[in-house]
Symmetry: C2
Subunit: 301 residues, 2 copies
């Protein structure tokens, strides 16, 4: 069970956080991009090399204290297929280092196409007599607007998915909060997520179908925790998006489990606040990761 | 205005259809995959070369009679970054041949990340002092579950998008048909789409914000046509998914404009039904495209 694997890694490290790897070039220290441009050109090839080096340094420092990484595919796709290769290389490197990888791709489509996306991020793809893996993450994020037949193909690989339920952005309510049959739409999505997870509940009581629930809506977070007892939460919005430690308490169950909190910019760009040198960007990320871990430990106890 | 460009191409060819390029290897004639495997290996590299050759042959035959192509990214991503390179090469080749390209990516995320996706598929990305284009399509499909701030960044490039409103798959109603405040959720999404399009209405009365509405729900299609007078429709579900010519009539306005009908498998796999040789797969696709065009012309007049 893939969600069990994530929970075990969280428990081992006593740290329910995931490092978002959203490597815009402007976040990367200048000495890395300059060197990459010099060697590979001021183009997508150079950009992709800079991104990969940045990510590897972060992973090296973080893998000892953070259980998981969440590369966000948009920040690779905008550097073309070369960027997508860096996305692939990042996933493989993080896995080598023992980290659990959530591919933040928010994919969605009708059944036959959802099956292709599931192969891409979680499974294997038939190529002649072989069955290679395309990106081979441990989990992926999924948009459930198309209903069951757009989601269930992702479960065939016995890995985990996280379905968008209540997202962290300011306008998330325009569809998600519409009241229907005495409950907001995100509550209906939550009901589907619990249902989709029924067949894959693991030894910690959580299924392979998780939910994305933003830290920026703490009231909804607590309500959903109650409504979704078998659903593990991936919680974005902490840090740069404005939510603090108190806002995320409601994501956790009574044992202090049930959720993983994402931080992206606050780790990647920690070196800008630390006052240290650019060269120490990964150490600054580690220090910030430790601070965040300790802060979260404090509120969930 | 990008939607104007699409409408003009449709009018020139008197053909409101788009060829979906969803090249599963199993759809590709054996002689192409065999040659590619022999030259590049039975791996993603070989698969990507087979896909690109298949697509180029189809584009060569279809560009004279079909105005647009819609490559579906899942069927490239499942062949890894090599597949994504074939996606890129397919887009550039189709554009060279004068076709309008809709990147069927169904992307969605919070504002800053939506901006990155918009750069990837419609815009440019800053790389040092340069601004290269990553995939450079004419239009992209978008999932609007996150509301305005996940959608508006896509409009900054003055290209077109198609937002999922009522999808063609069997379970699309699980969220989309839920009744809220006297209208189904897909109707609320439709209202948002009209609103998002307000600032970009072109000379044919349609905005740059289109909608994906499935042919498999003909009643909803007609209702939405009425509710969304400034929204151009991208209509999947015709052919292999079960909808026929009569089902799509409601997608068009009184002038016979307002929609483009997608066909994927029925074109790509036409050679299997034609009784001709595998080598003539592209000619079989063209014959099927002509048949489909004539059928659609008949019903919209």
């Amino acid at each position: 069970m893939s969600m069990d694997k994530l929970i075990e890694r969280i428990n081992e490290m006593e740290n329910p956080t995931v490092a978002g790897l959203d490597p815009k070039l402007s976040y990367i220290p200048g000495f890395i991009t300059e060197e990459a441009f010099k060697t590979y050109g001021e183009n997508f090839c150079g950009a992709a090399h800079a991104i990969l080096r940045f990510n590897k340094c972060l992973i090296d420092e973080l893998c000892g204290i953070i259980p998981a990484v969440k590369p966000q595919s948009a920040y690779y796709e905008m550097y073309g297929w070369e960027g997508v290769k860096a996305f692939f290389d990042t996933i493989q490197y993080a896995k080598q280092k023992g980290m659990y990888v959530i591919a933040d791709v928010k994919r969605n489509d009708i059944g036959s196409t959802a099956e292709a996306y599931a192969r891409a991020y979680l499974g294997t793809t038939p190529v002649g007599s072989t069955q290679p893996e395309a990106f081979n993450a441990d989990a992926a994020t999924v948009n459930g607007y198309l209903g069951s037949d757009g989601v269930l193909p992702f479960l065939e690989w016995n890995k985990a998915i996280f379905v968008l339920v209540k997202t962290s952005n300011p306008s998330s309510g325009e569809i998600q909060d519409i009241n229907a049959q005495n409950a907001a739409i995100y509550r209906h999505m939550a009901g589907l997520v619990e249902k989709w997870g029924k067949g894959s509940i693991g030894k910690y009581g959580y299924s392979n179908v998780g939910a994305v629930v933003g830290a920026t809506y703490p009231k909804q977070l607590s309500e959903l925790r109650e409504q979704m007892p078998h659903t593990f939460f991936l919680v974005p919005g902490y840090g740069a998006q404005g939510a603090g430690a108190d806002d995320i308490v409601g994501a956790f169950d009574k044992k202090g489990s049930g959720a993983i909190i994402n931080a992206s910019r606050s780790l990647m760009c920690a070196y800008r606040k630390s006052g240290g040198s650019q060269e120490d960007f990964a150490k600054a990320a580690k220090a910030e990761a430790e601070r965040m871990r300790d802060e979260i430990r404090r509120v969930i106890r």
